[in-house]
Subunit: 232 residues, 2 copies
Amino acid sequence: MRYAVLGTGIVGRTLTAKLASLGHEVVVGTRDPQATLARTEPDGMGNRPFAAWHADHNDVPLQTFAEAAAFGETVLNTTSGPRTLDALGAAGAANLAGKVVVDIANPLDFSQGMPPTLNPVNTDSLGEQVQRAFPDARVVKTLNTMNCSIMVNPASVPGEHNVFVSGEDAAAKEAVTKLLTSFGWPAGSVIDLGGIETARGAEMLLPIWLRLFGALGNTAFNFHIQGAHKSA
Amino acid sequence: MRYAVLGTGIVGRTLTAKLASLGHEVVVGTRDPQATLARTEPDGMGNRPFAAWHADHNDVPLQTFAEAAAFGETVLNTTSGPRTLDALGAAGAANLAGKVVVDIANPLDFSQGMPPTLNPVNTDSLGEQVQRAFPDARVVKTLNTMNCSIMVNPASVPGEHNVFVSGEDAAAKEAVTKLLTSFGWPAGSVIDLGGIETARGAEMLLPIWLRLFGALGNTAFNFHIQGAHKSA
């Protein structure tokens, strides 16, 4: 399968490396590939610049958002929440139409200090905004509720824990569930919350995630819905 | 210990019955005891009227918010979120001063349809509002993240799962943790998120709780933070 991973941060790199290791063809998308490769400073979380990572993964092309999205049969959005709609706009609606768009971003708003708040929140979500802005894309919100190392290595957290999917298109959610299974998620660990509106619930997990991070001092945890079973 | 349980809904009844069964003296507080007892209709969730419950628990006095709060050494707020500040105002700041006030309410806003949204949210929380409005109370947010039957019977959900505490007063959180332990919560299941500001995280679990309820069709689940451990 051909994948486009939009975004060059730690989430995008982690997912790109995993997809490539599974034998998929992956292209990373960014606004301006030359500018991305020219950066020499670590990012705000201390991750090394993209170029240093790319030197170790030079089989993965870095292209513009539009080129990457045109290439991918499935598109993963790992851009930062506040930039997501712009990035997908640059990718181009035509390059997203009919495709599964996996939205992994969180609409974190750092303008009010730390820990960040959410925007949108409560009566809307980034997942819904993406689906409204690109009605022909088959948007699935998932994986936004955990550290990226857990996304691609769920066994790194011992015991059962969950990943959520939200979206309007049942076949798209099924395809994403298969992708998650290939990452190591047991099929029973994937909880289908419902339509894309339920992305509000998944995104609003971030505030407690951030405070658990603060209280525990690490990110090696994930949400587990204990007792979850569908009523007959 | 003497407890005041403010609120006559299903959460208040469940906690009252548990506290009484543990041998505590409990008074239930309501705005107008005669009006509460005069109601003959089930509530919005189909629970029987308070008077019918009270007939089975007539050893528990029903008093005004102020009388109940004056009686209690510890005060549990189980009123509905939108009414909490009014109810605590009626209870009276002097009757709350110096006491542990356990805030179990969620600021659910049904004005925008179902599922409810939150108000306050994101940049504030009900727990913080309560602490600001009653600065001499020792507010601890807890238990708001699960169905009330699980609050007092955690073993009804098999396996490990968690209850969160948020508050400024370490001794108050310790007292609440002891209370939770007496309800059957293993001490290791209680996660201290930090100060009362972290009530935002706990309250913002409600949106996904509501959607899990919708997806699963039952409330017999609880949040479990898998892998949670404090970094050394």
